[in-house]
């Protein structure tokens, strides 16, 4: 029997932090090289001149940002203020807000309903909500288009029932885009609200009833404040992908009404104006960052509130 005293001199603690760092570095390197660097390059490109056949000329220029706000006259090269691109961003913002509101209106009652199921059933409901998220977004969007288009089953059914004469125009409208966005990101709204509701204290509800609150008052005074962190998280999680969405406007809006995501994509496809596309991406990213900062702040505020 070899004695434990004769342990090989292998190190366990010595250099532990160093070995952890070494193990961490591949992932961080991949993320820095594969995402942080590209994002920085986007920022750099937004300050360059557009190449004639796509790509960039390595000369500093603010033209891309200028183009966002002003239109250059083809004949006399004069700049005039133009709201065309601002409108696209404005519409993206508006539709994202609308989609978020729709998701909240459907998502909150659903999350509440799931959170009040018996504990052993809840995971199944949550599973039902998560599954669609994992289905290919393109396929889901196409599926939605499939049923709302003029020749689709909805219109076929309505016509078959003689409720309408001509097909109802749903596809290729702004309404379809909002519907598509809500459809795409609804699970993002439900899950955080559910998590917050599930964590909240049932005894508070009991206390409120004990103190003569009505059902509506309980909802407004106890349940919704208790789920506030989840509601904010859900709103951000729906809002961010919505404002940068590409597929829903492209497929459901028929690609005619541009949103920010399509505008950016277009600069790298047909239009071939990389600096302008990069500038739009930077502007979009800034909007998203503002949303994220708001999110982190509200999370921290609720965390502090919980500790008090």
């Amino acid at each position: 029997m070899q004695d434990a005293a004769a342990v090989a001199q292998r190190s366990y603690r010595v250099g532990e932090a160093r070995s952890r760092r070494v193990m961490l570095s591949p992932a961080l390197t991949v993320l820095v090289v594969g995402l942080v660097c590209p994002l920085i390059i986007v920022l750099v490109y937004s300050f360059l001149e557009a190449g004639t056949y796509g790509g960039v000329e390595w000369r500093f220029s603010l033209e891309a940002y200028q183009q966002f706000l002003f239109q250059r006259d083809i004949f006399d090269d004069s700049l005039s203020f133009s709201t065309a691109y601002l409108e696209i961003f404005g519409r993206s913002l508006f539709m994202a807000v609308l989609a978020t509101a729709v998701c909240l209106a459907i998502g909150f009652p659903t999350a509440y309903f799931i959170a009040t199921r018996p504990p052993e059933q809840r995971m199944f409901w949550v599973f039902l909500i998560t599954v669609p998220y994992w289905v290919n977004l393109l396929i889901r969007t196409l599926a939605l288009l499939f049923i709302i288009r003029d020749q689709g089953p909805i219109n076929a059914a309505l016509q078959g029932l003689d409720m309408i004469d001509a097909p109802l125009r749903i596809a290729y409208t702004d309404f379809a885009i909002v519907l598509g966005l809500a459809y795409s990101y609804l699970p993002f709204m439900i899950l955080p609200i559910y998590a917050a509701l599930e964590r909240s204290d049932t005894r508070l509800v009991e206390a409120a009833y004990d103190l003569y609150a009505s059902k509506a008052r309980v909802l407004v005074d106890v349940v919704i404040p208790g789920a506030k962190a989840g509601i904010i998280a859900g709103a951000i999680l729906v809002f961010i992908p919505s404002i940068g969405s590409y597929l829903a406007p492209d497929i459901l809006g028929g690609g005619r009404e541009l949103l920010a995501g399509n505008l950016i994509a277009q600069q790298f496809q047909a239009s071939r104006n990389w600096p302008f596309g990069a500038a739009c991406a930077v502007i979009l990213m800034t909007v998203v960052m503002l949303g994220l900062i708001q999110f982190v702040r509200s999370q921290e505020r609720t965390r502090r509130g919980e500790m008090r």
Partner: protein, 379 residues
């Protein structure tokens, strides 16, 4: 402050079979540990040494630093200052996997994805023993803890007591120089705990491995240990054999923490060379082996079972029974002696002597040698 009781205690005498050949296994000296951002030290100048083959117990209330001390010895925490020596060599610079010390964790920490045999073989594999030797040792260890038939089970399929034994077998398998046990029995029910107590002691004797055992259960400590170190607030209050700790507590903390006691206030009446007579309860004279001055007020500890109740007039002072608490094998009697209260424990062996009822009058006798001076008030 120097207490008489401490000088009586056998701190420096190793209790192993032959004190003359027993050599020191572990020495902790001046151990101080501050956790980051903690104002109070978890260990505050702790020193002791453990002899080879000794069953040494750290006993103390929750939060007194027992686990911290054990983790420092195992190598999971660094001391702020102080030193730890194993067989005379400093081990502070060694990582846990380089120290020939094994631990039985409180919640066993058995590897859930390995069978019982694989768990026990784990340290042997890490030590690169050859397969045959590992197999032999695992069988030997499982036989030692009487679980040979469980070798192929996963730990989740074992009862708490069985898991406990496997954890023990696994820690003993590499034949460590020192075995650390952090409250290993606390998760077991009372009956099982009693059984494991005997078994642990037997295994310790059989293997001859030095045990450093941690518990907050005084009964456990007294039952198994060769020596006990009583800890409080990161400090060692007293080290000694169980009888010494029980019968001659060094201070009030030890006296009240171990067993139940009457903490009485006494007045020194007579002094001699290293001995004195102390009066308690306004009339009972007790002997104290301490250098005291006449007229000094001292704290005196008298164990409940040392208080003798006699018919009125036969004892030194009169008392009135206030309440009796039946506890199965014995009854605790709460007494009022003048303005002071006193408790006595009556064993139910003596049929002839009935248990008094509340309101009864009786008198109290305490054997002069039954008391320990535990504290001296600053006059």
């Amino acid at each position: 402050m120097k207490d008489m009781a401490t000088s009586l205690d056998e701190t420096q005498v190793p209790p192993a079979t032959d004190p003359l050949v027993a050599k020191t296994a572990l020495t902790v000296s001046g151990a101080v540990k501050y956790y980051p951002n903690a104002p109070m030290p978890a260990l505050n100048d702790v020193s002791f040494s453990i002899a080879e083959n000794e069953f040494f117990t750290l006993l103390g209330p929750s939060g007194c630093g027992k686990t911290t001390l054990l983790r420092s010895i195992a190598g999971f925490e660094d001391l702020t200052s102080g030193s730890i020596r194993l067989d005379g060599d400093s081990i502070e610079s060694l990582a846990p996997n380089q120290r020939p010390i094994n631990t039985v964790f409180q919640h066993y920490a058995l590897f859930p994805h390995m069978t019982v045999a694989e768990n026990v073989a784990y340290p042997l594999r890490r030590l690169r023993l050859d397969a045959r030797a590992i197999e032999r040792r695992v069988a030997e260890m499982l036989a030692l803890v009487k679980l040979a038939e469980m070798a192929d089970r996963k730990p989740a399929k074992l009862s708490g007591g069985q898991q406990q034994r496997i954890a023990l077998a696994r820690a003993l398998a590499p034949n460590p120089r020192l075995l650390l046990l952090d409250e290993p029995l606390s998760a077991l029910d009372l009956k099982l705990r009693r059984e494991m107590r005997t078994e642990l002691k037997q295994i310790q004797i059989k293997t001859g491995i030095t045990f450093l055992f941690v518990t907050h259960d005084q009964e456990e400590a007294l039952a198994m240990s060769d020596r006990v170190a009583v800890m409080n607030n990161g400090q060692v209050e007293q080290i000694g054999r169980p009888e010494a700790i029980y019968n001659a507590p060094a201070n009030e903390f030890v006296a009240t923490f171990i067993g139940e006691t009457n903490a009485l206030s006494g007045l020194v009446e007579k002094t001699g060379s290293g001995a004195a007579q102390v009066i308690v309860l306004g009339g009972i004279a007790l002997a104290a082996d301490a250098d005291l001055a006449v007229g000094e007020r001292v704290g005196v500890s008298v164990r409940l079972e040392k208080v003798d109740l006699r018919p009125p007039g036969e004892g030194a002072v009169d008392a009135i029974v206030e309440q009796t608490v039946f506890l199965g094998t014995d009854t605790v009697v709460h007494l009022k002696v003048g303005k002071e209260t006193l408790q006595a424990r009556l064993q139910h062996t003596d049929r002839a002597r009935p248990v008094p009822a509340p309101g009864d009058h009786c008198s109290v006798h305490i054997d002069p040698g039954a008391a320990t001076v535990v504290a001296r008030s600053n006059r």
